[in-house]
Every structure is written in structure tokens, then in C-alpha cells.
Symmetry: C2
Subunit: 201 residues, 2 copies
DNA sequence: TTCCACACTGCGGATGACCACAATTGCTGC
DNA sequence: GCAGCAATTGTGGTCATCCGCAGTGTGGAA
């Protein structure tokens, strides 16, 4: 898996170097890209960390780059940097899901804080996403009939009722139910419900 | 219950009237307040709809008003209007949970759209909140011991195991469990798990 | 003191969940 | 055709759940 990095995307080498240095002094690993195109070309779905994206760049702008990332299903938090941002631009970016939007000149401490919080946020997201991936792969192992039975089990219905609704025997329901538990790695309907429900408590 | 209203808070009477008229033509009920203080004095937890809040006002500013609303646990979406907003102000407001941040002069259609979306959002939130209030009032009826047993039941443990952990007899666990189901209005542990879990499927 | 809510316990029976063993049907791929 | 998977069903038995009936003990409120 790709290690978490702060991906710095800026066509100004001085800024790139300054940010790289700044983050290194705070023990934040980073990688610099000299254009949106370069970053997008290298981008992979399992990139982790965050993106620090300059708005004004020679070719593709930071906002355009952001749109491409959204289309590709990027999950990393994106922090915008801009020298000449206006309010609608900032509002639009945040409403599309940007993590933050900072104006130059920015305070070094503030930027580092934002980057760190973004990377923590990504780490949390990654963790919960992995759990969900495990769930999905398990769900994928279920046959159509098993899924059907599982849904009815999750409504709390008795095997007898489920059998009625599907016009099959109770015994068959028991078998499906048992296989579902086995494949999903649980030992009861309650555990299954907890597993398929988001975190609580 | 208070009906859903677009609460217009602006110390400029011309703006208030214009917005009220604009919203009425689109069949959106609204109420105008001539200052943040006036609105906050009248504000009640069961206000519904949304808030259209001017930033620059003579006494308390829109941002200060927003902070007070947040402290009071306001749930209505807040839409900011401003003539001289800057980027950090907009970013800060959105990150604190504002629904939108519009600069004057704004497009009438755009504003109405935002207001309508905000009120729809509030209607959805209200609905899910009522469901949760029902849950809370039911949970409040449970005795301490019943809550304890309920939590263990929700982990999928057998009554026998629960009895062991609490050093009581199985029969007692059965009684608590039964009372929990009765008070929570469910008929099985699975239904209980579904009820206490956020929406899914 | 009396009443009541809460927690606790035992017994026995009805019902549901789970499982091992055993088997049939139909469809797919080699 | 044969192997393999999915879906189906039955028998018989064990374990868990659920429930009514019956009763004890404690602490707080009337």
C-alpha cells in the first residue's frame, strides 16, 4: 500500500521546496508535483494522505484538477492554496468537498495544522473503508438466495415467516441462514445486524 | 409545532422586504427580523426552516449570531449573505456548518434555490430527529439494569453468557430482556439492533 | 408502616434456532 | 457424461428463547 503523503501540487518550485521543507521539519512526509497533469498522471486509487493544491497554475488549474479527482473517486482530503481567491470560488470548492481553502500568504503553523488534520482524517477514512471492503468481499461470496434470506433475517422475521414469504421450506431457510452466518463470519443475527450497521455506542 | 419558515435576519428594511416578496412569489413562507438580537430573543428550539443571515449588521453581526445559534444547538441550516465577505470569513463559516455563503449582489433564482434546498434539508433532519427522539424517550423508560442487559444482548451474547457476566441467573436476564423488548416496542434482538442503528439499505 | 418499583430466582412447557446426516433436482463447465 | 455448485427438503435431536406462574428481598415514597 502507498504510504500516506502530503501531495504538494504547485508549479512554483520555490513554493514546493518551501512546503516540502516546512512539512519535513514537522515530520510530515510529502511529495511534490510540478503540475496538476503530472500529479493526475501518477495518481492511483490507493494514494493516501492529503493533497495541497495551488489554484492558479499555468496549465490545468487546481480547481479543474479537483474536479478530475472527484470524478476518479479520490478520497484524499484536498487543501486549496490561493493568492487571489474569491468567495464564490472558496464556497464552491468547500461545498464540493474540499477539506480547507487557505489564502496566501498563509501562516506556516496554520498550514501544517491543517495538513496534519487532513492526514488524520484520511487515516480514519481509510480504516473504516478497509472494514467496509472486508464486508463487501464477504457479501460478494453470498449467493443471490442467501442475500435474499439475509435481508429477511435482518428484519427480525422468524424462519417460518421467511419460509412462507419465499415459498420454501423452513429447513431451506435454516441452511441459507447458516451459510450466511458462516460466510459473513458471525455467529448470530444480532452480530450480523451490528456488522452491517455503522458504528454506534 | 412551529411551521417551517425562512427566517430573514437583516437590519436593512429594503432587503428584508425584497427577500420576503421574492420568497413569497415562490411560495416559500418567511418571517423577517430586523436584527440578530430580535431573532435570537424570539428563537426557540423548535424553529424550523432555515435562516438567511446578513453578515454586516449594526449591532450583533451575522457571524456572532451564528455562533450563538450553534451554542444553543440550533439545527436550522444557515445561509449567509454578505456584501464585503472575504475568503477566510466564508471558509470559517462553512467549516462551522453554514449551509451556504452568498455574496451580494446575488442572483434571485440562485438564492431561492439555496433557500429551498436548505428547507428541504431541514425537513429531512427534522424527520430523522423525531425518530431519534422517540428512541430516546423509550430508552429513558429503561431501568439501569435493563440498559446493561440490553447492551450485552446487542453484542449477540447468549442469555447464559450474559447471566454469567452479571453474576445473576439466566431467568433474570430473560425477564430484563423481555422488558427491554416490550418497552422499546420490538419483538426480537435483531429489530432492536436495527432500531438503534442508523438507516441503511 | 404500607405500598411500590426494581432486581432477583425457580419450574415447566411451548416454540424457535441450529446442526449432523442424508438426499434430490437443475444448471454449468470440462 | 461427470464434477461441482446452488437450491431444495426431510428426520431427529440439542440448545436457546420466551412466557406464565409463583415467590423473595430491598430501598424509597406516601
Amino acid at each position: 500500500m502507498n504510504p500516506p503523503l502530503a501531495h504538494i501540487v504547485d508549479d512554483d518550485e520555490a513554493i514546493r521546496d518551501a512546503l516540502t521543507w516546512l512539512l519535513r521539519t514537522r515530520n510530515v512526509a510529502s511529495r511534490a508535483w510540478s503540475s496538476a497533469e503530472e500529479f493526475l498522471a501518477a495518481w492511483q486509487p490507493d494514494f493516501h494522505g492529503c493533497v495541497v493544491l495551488d489554484i492558479r497554475m499555468r496549465e490545468m488549474s487546481g480547481l479543474e484538477c479537483f474536479d478530475v479527482l472527484l470524478e476518479r473517486g479520490n478520497n484524499m482530503p484536498v487543501i486549496f492554496l490561493t493568492g487571489h481567491g474569491d468567495v464564490p470560488m472558496a464556497v464552491g470548492a468547500l461545498k464540493k468537498g474540499a477539506f480547507d481553502f487557505l489564502e496566501k500568504p498563509f501562516d506556516d503553523n496554520a498550514l501544517v495544522d491543517v495538513v496534519i488534520r487532513a492526514m488524520e482524517s484520511d487515516a480514519r477514512r481509510t480504516a473504516s473503508q478497509e472494514a467496509q471492503a472486508t464486508m463487501s468481499s464477504r457479501l460478494a461470496q453470498l449467493t443471490p438466495r442467501e442475500i435474499e434470506v439475509m435481508h429477511l433475517v435482518l428484519t427480525g422475521k422468524f424462519n417460518k415467516v421467511i419460509a412462507d414469504e419465499l415459498n420454501i421450506s423452513m429447513r431451506t431457510v435454516e441452511v441459507h441462514r447458516s451459510r450466511v452466518f458462516e460466510k459473513m463470519g458471525v455467529r448470530s443475527a444480532v452480530e450480523l445486524a451490528q456488522l452491517l450497521a455503522p458504528g454506534r455506542d
